[in-house]
């Protein structure tokens, strides 16, 4: 199998690795970098669990090859909370809103939901409930019925506005 050397910046940190050209970005993140926060639910681009931010825009990491991201910046769920290792430190306002609104049950779709909603809130800081539903229409959740995810997103938008923060 053909391999190439790539350098990818993940959550602000550069990683250089030799990867097979056919390796997906999801597998690169999960297996080569050990960043298992990004989840794989369908491997054909429908469920959205593997969604990451590639140069700030959402992308399916199951449909992206690792070699395509050479020289690019990726953000994953692991990079959202300011102090992820500190159990008592506050998380990102969107993560806090997810917890406060019970927007996750099994938590498997959550990484893709969070990255998708980050993009939404950057594009549209005060979305309506209907706009949230459309924004997450490419992310499947089998547990929540989406209602609390919509509520959490609206709540997060309010918190960010109150704090004068960008998502």
């Amino acid at each position: 199998m053909e391999s190439r050397k790539i350098t990818v910046t993940v959550n602000g940190q550069a990683h250089t690795r030799d990867v097979e050209t056919r390796m997906t970005l999801a597998d690169f993140l999960r297996h080569d970098l050990g960043m298992t926060g990004t989840h794989v639910g369908c491997e054909h681009g429908v469920c959205g669990a593997c969604t990451i931010l590639l140069d700030g825009r959402t992308a399916r990491s199951c449909l992206t090859l690792a070699v395509q991201t050479d020289g690019h910046a990726i953000d994953t769920i692991e990079g959202m909370a300011p102090n992820p290792k500190d159990k008592t430190a506050p998380m990102h306002p969107l993560q806090e809103a997810f917890r406060d609104n019970h927007a996750l049950q099994c938590g498997f779709c959550t990484p893709g939901m969070l990255t998708t909603i980050i993009e939404l809130l950057r594009d549209n800081p005060e979305p309506s409930a209907d706009e949230v539903r459309i924004a997450i229409s490419g992310n499947l959740c089998r547990c929540t019925g989406y209602q609390t995810i919509v509520a959490a997103t609206l709540d997060a938008a309010k918190r960010l506005k109150a704090e004068g923060r960008k998502p």
Binding site: R30, H39, R99, C106, A129, R142, T148
Partner: protein
């Protein structure tokens, strides 16, 4: 730390599971990596039915990075039995059809595993799996369970005498007499389909064998680790002691993960045979062809009523698609048939149930487990009665619903375990009235007329349900104070798959042990930490494991107070537990932590325990209850149907429900809303299709439609609380409830929207095309 201002139970407590899951540090089975681990891929049958003539693995073994390819012949020397025998007991079986670990003689459904390839990574394993040459000799296949039962139908298994897997009758009263004298009898044929579980995390296993301790550990995304251990031990011919099954974080269960699968035993044996850890993670296509589903039931039913719409009797038959093997038992159609009459007074009932083998992946419960079908039957028939007798649909139900004054109400039915069915509590008419009021029934006729004047078709529908929850007989829980940390560990065979089990344990245990949830460390789903367990299914964990945790926590509390009274030399009455320590009420400076108390009874060689105290600060409880706690409710829905396209838009959805005492209203809302969304999918979107040769035709999430956010309306939940007397918490299960009435309510609403076309819907799901066809038929006949 001060005492909690309100009781922990019944409060909206934030979940202990969330921080890890939100930060990407959850621990799902695919997140495990062990040194030297091999990755597995399965070779699966591409045919619905065929003889396996030969399997040639030589080309696969030549692929660099491939270590082994195991077939049935490789597994057999290690197996006491090659069959996975898991059928729940029943006298109804006509034949025992159990799945083999790997199929090597005859494949009976697409997706059945015939070989496991072990390689350095999954990419290589899949490359090699494609090179395993299996020669098949195709045999005729049958997929429609009604066809399968006809004389001369192709045999699902060539060695079987016929395709009738099981048959039973259920009922009571003189149903023939009731029908013979009934002034009105209405008859319907119903087709009910439910799809797959489709947790967003597919199945997965990691297995490792330790030759020093001669033990095998299987980490699996299973809902039932103890059952898995038991089955695996039986198949290997090992003591259970040598096997540990651990359920890590699970990305949704929904039923299919309670089953023990061929892949589970193949992965476990592969680790044993190779001496290397082995991982297999199911992909979505495999989930479509190899994970159990719920699929099809065909009902022929008739209802007898008097002139006042009082039900005189209900009778009929069900043909149930069982799939190619018994992977759980006859329980699913049993629950369907048993659920039909639950909410109503029905003097006579008879149902004949036939389970037909088909050349499809086995059928086992998906969230709701046959009960949505029973409710669908009853509610569709009551809508038919209302229409025929020109009565209000709510009035027809009110005349037949069991009332609160009649509770507890004994049904002349036996549960699958032989127990009398007794509806313990609930106010069914109140739930119906509440749901209809909140759905806007009062002014609905005016709104409907106004909409119609604008050319729009809106309709209101509803359905009542009663659902058995808290399946017994027990779910043990150990509560143990860790002497080193003072933390309270909670162990159970209960499994957490998204339903907030750890939070439930934390609330219930902390309530007795000082009120600090952060001290509770719930570790469910590990056979290594508790001897017995049944697992998570049938909306049972809050009822069964919650009750055991409650009782165990009370024992630990009482013991902590007793030890503290000895150590502090104070009367028990002066002591209370608060934030991880026992404190004197009279003098808060006198206190001792739970950790110190645990140490004081952990034993020091040669030194005596405090007077009258037994060793260890822990308790294990096996709360036993055989009778089920019956939850109930009513779903009311307003839809708008586009008469040109057949598109259904849900304007409003209300569910009034009663799951007894509520432990955490936030979690209960989440369970209800999520299950309703699942039910909407069952009504309008989800369909697992097969062609005439039993080839699945919906094998990705583009072809098989899981509901997405824009299709789900805001779902309003109204709580009613009728605590049950069956357990110390007064709780009933809730996990499945929302799915149970939903399809029936939606069909009722669609019919109401299209009443000018005289549409009757006798199926679920229904597609826009089918709705248009019904409208066209109605226009022609008008």
């Amino acid at each position: 730390m001060s005492a909690p201002s309100s009781p922990l139970r019944s409060n909206r407590v934030l979940r202990v599971e969330d921080p890890d899951l939100l930060k990407g540090s959850g621990k799902f089975v695919d997140d495990m990596h062990l040194p030297g681990m091999l990755q597995a891929a399965f070779v699966r049958s591409p045919m619905g039915h065929a003889k396996v003539v030969s399997i040639d693995v030589s080309a696969a073994l030549e692929v660099p990075g491939v270590h082994r390819v195991l077939t049935r012949d490789d597994l057999l020397p290690h197996l006491a039995t090659e069959f996975i025998v898991v059928g729940l007991p029943s006298p109804a079986y006509k034949q025992d059809i159990n799945r083999p670990a790997l199929s090597g003689l005859e494949v009976v459904h697409v997706g059945e595993p015939v070989a496991i390839v072990l390689a350095d990574n999954r990419y290589i394993a899949e490359d090699a799996a494609a090179l395993v040459m299996v020669e098949y000799d195709p045999l005729p296949a049958v997929g429609d369970p009604r066809e399968a039962l006809k004389p001369g139908a192709p045999l699902v298994h060539s060695s079987s005498p016929h395709n009738l897997l099981a048959e039973f009758d259920m009922g009571y009263g003189d149903v023939d007499a009731a029908f013979a004298s009934a002034p009105h009898v209405f008859k319907e044929s119903l087709w009910q389909h439910r799809g797959g579980g489709h947790s967003i995390e597919c199945r997965g296993d990691v297995a490792a064998y330790d030759p020093f301790s001669e033990t095998l550990t299987l980490w699996s995304s299973t809902q039932t680790p103890h059952a898995g251990r038991s089955v695996l031990a039986g198949m290997l011919g090992w003591e259970e002691e040598r096997i540990r099954v651990v359920t890590p974080d699970v990305g949704g269960g929904f039923g299919p993960k309670l089953i023990f699968y061929p892949e589970d035993v193949a992965v476990a044996l592969a680790a044993y045979i190779t001496g290397r850890p082995v991982k297999w993670i199911e992909d979505r296509r495999e989930h479509f062809v190899a994970t159990t589903q719920e699929r099809d039931q065909y009902w022929d039913v008739e209802i007898a009523v008097d002139d006042n719409a009082k039900i005189l009797g209900l009778r009929g038959s069900i043909v149930h698609d069982h799939g190619a093997y018994t992977a759980r038992g006859v329980n699913l159609p049993y629950e369907s048939a048993q659920t039909v009459t639950l909410a109503y007074e029905i003097p006579a009932y008879f149902m004949n149930v036939k389970l037909a083998l088909t050349n499809k992946v086995p059928v086992t419960p998906v969230r709701g487990a046959g009960q949505p079908q029973g409710v669908f039957c009853m509610e569709r028939m009551l809508d038919r009665v209302a229409r025929e007798l020109k009565l209000d649909r709510a009035e027809v139900r009110s005349r037949n619903l069991i009332t609160a004054a009649q509770m507890p109400y004994t049904k002349p039915l036996k549960s699958r375990g032989g127990r009398q069915v007794v509806l313990d509590s609930g106010n069914y008419p109140a739930c119906q009235a509440d749901a209809l009021a909140k759905a806007g029934l009062a002014d609905f006729p005016a709104r409907q007329a106004a909409a119609r004047a604008e050319g729009r078709h809106i309709g209101l529908g509803f359905a009542n349900f009663v659902k058995g929850t808290g399946r017994g007989p027990f779910e043990p829980v150990t509560v143990r104070v860790d002497p080193a940390s003072g933390k309270v560990n909670v162990y159970s065979g209960a499994t957490a798959m998204g339903q907030s089990t750890k939070t439930m344990f934390a609330q219930i245990v902390a309530e007795q042990l000082g009120g600090d949830i952060s001290l509770i460390n719930a570790k469910p789903g590990d056979t290594g930490s508790i001897a017995m367990g049944l697992g998570g299914f049938n909306s049972r964990l809050a009822v069964m494991a919650g009750s055991s945790a409650h009782l165990a926590a009370i024992k630990v509390r009482d013991k902590a107070l007793l030890i503290a009274s000895k150590v502090l030399k104070l009367p028990i009455e002066d002591l209370h537990l608060i934030g991880g320590r026992v404190e004197a009420k009279s003098d808060p400076s006198k206190s001792i932590t739970l950790g110190q108390l645990a140490k004081s009874v952990a034993g020091v060689a040669g030194f005596v325990l405090p007077d009258g105290v037994t060793p260890g600060l822990e308790a294990t409880e096996h709360f036993v209850v055989d009778d089920m706690a019956y939850a109930n409710g009513c779903a009311a829905v307003e839809v708008e149907v586009d008469a040109e396209t057949g598109g259904v838009h849900i304007n409003k959805f209300v569910i009034a429900h009663d799951c007894g005492a509520v432990i955490n209203p936030m979690v209960v809302d989440g369970q209800i809303v999520g299950a309703v969304a699942h039910g909407i999918g069952n009504a309008l979107y989800e369909w697992m299709g097969f062609d005439d040769n039993c080839q699945p035709v919906t094998t990705n999430l583009g072809e098989y439609l899981l509901i997405t956010a824009p299709e789900v309306p805001f779902i309003e939940v109204s709580h009613h609380e009728s605590p049950t007397y069956l357990n110390p918490l007064g709780v009933k299960g809730v996990g499945e409830c929302g799915v149970v009435p939903t399809a029936a309510a939606i069909m009722s609403a669609i019919e109401d929207a299209l009443k000018e076309f005289n549409v009757f819907i006798a199926q679920t799901p229904i597609t826009p095309g089918e709705i248009v066809a019904k409208i066209e038929a109605g226009r022609k006949s008008a």
